[in-house]
Symmetry: C2
Subunit: 159 residues, 2 copies
DNA sequence: CTTGGTGCAAAACTTTTGCACGGAG
DNA sequence: CTCCGTGCAAAAGTTTTGCACCAAG
């Protein structure tokens, strides 16, 4: 897809007004990447103190509808928004919280299988793939060895 | 994993009390499958009118911690809960909302690749795979042909 | 001018939490 | 008898909505 400028173009083309608020929200997302509505709000407010969070939500909803930004639901906490680029996903480590971009190619076979076998057009866009990264995995295994045999579950593994 | 009885066993084994509320929540989930907390609440209330939704949430959180139920975040609306069974996922059609179970095998290659290439242990458990089912896909294409050339987007594609 | 977009305030919706009482073990 | 689990009520966190005014086209 595109950068802020092209995004603004698209907005105009489709008949929406170009307001400072919309421009600011767009550039906040472009610079920030993976921001929550609240964070976008914070960033925009630095440049234009009077913006309301409702406007941010409305703008994000609009941009999402136009497929200019992507919304990702991380399960807990607020949704996060990102400028649409070429299709990709994210690895999200439950240990350290780090997110790593993940090329879409890995999902092609799955998408194909679903289409051929079930006639299902999977969107599989911008998925958060939860798990444990190599670094945290190593740590976890060490910790596990340390308390080997305890096991009552009460403590619970990272959910 | 298991049915309600075994689940109750597990609860007791790990040292939690067996209360009517917990039994009712469990059997509601077993019978209902894919229920929201509110729906579980509704079902349980039919048999025990005094239960509180807070109890439902607390019980669901407990069962989730013990891995007896799985929580799925569908992005909009409330989380949905399901009794844990063998690993599987769901196709969720954005058109008709229908959900179809999906065998986990399809995800094995992806999981393997992530492990080997990046050392990332992907959880990929009980994923909602959004998309358009064959039935709705056909309808959509027909509708599109009907209004071919209009295109202002305003209407918006199914989000 | 006209209508769409904004700010403000309030509501909606889902989920969590504090507290005191009652029942399971 | 002890303390875990519950009901009740209130709060918290995120997102949506009604309304009057303002500004983009």
């Amino acid at each position: 897809m595109a950068g802020t400028k092209q995004a603004l173009e698209s907005l105009k083309e489709v008949g929406y007004r170009l307001t400072p608020q919309r421009m600011l929200v767009l550039s906040a997302i472009q610079e920030g990447g993976h921001l929550s509505a609240e964070e976008v709000y914070g960033r925009v407010k630095e440049e234009y103190a009077f913006i309301d969070i409702a406007t941010v939500y409305r703008t994000l909803a609009l941009l999402k509808r136009l497929r200019l930004v992507t919304e990702t639901e991380l399960g807990d906490g607020p949704a996060r928004y990102e400028l649409s680029t070429e299709p990709h996903h994210h690895l999200v480590c439950r240990g350290c919280g780090e997110t790593t971009p993940l090329n879409d190619d890995l999902f092609a076979p799955l998408r194909l299988t679903l289409r051929e076998r079930l006639g299902f057009e999977a969107e599989l866009e911008h998925l958060p793939v939860f798990g444990i990264c190599s670094r945290c995995g190593a740590q976890g295994r060490r910790a596990e060895r340390r308390r080997a045999g305890v096991a009552t579950e009460r403590a619970g593994t990272a959910q």
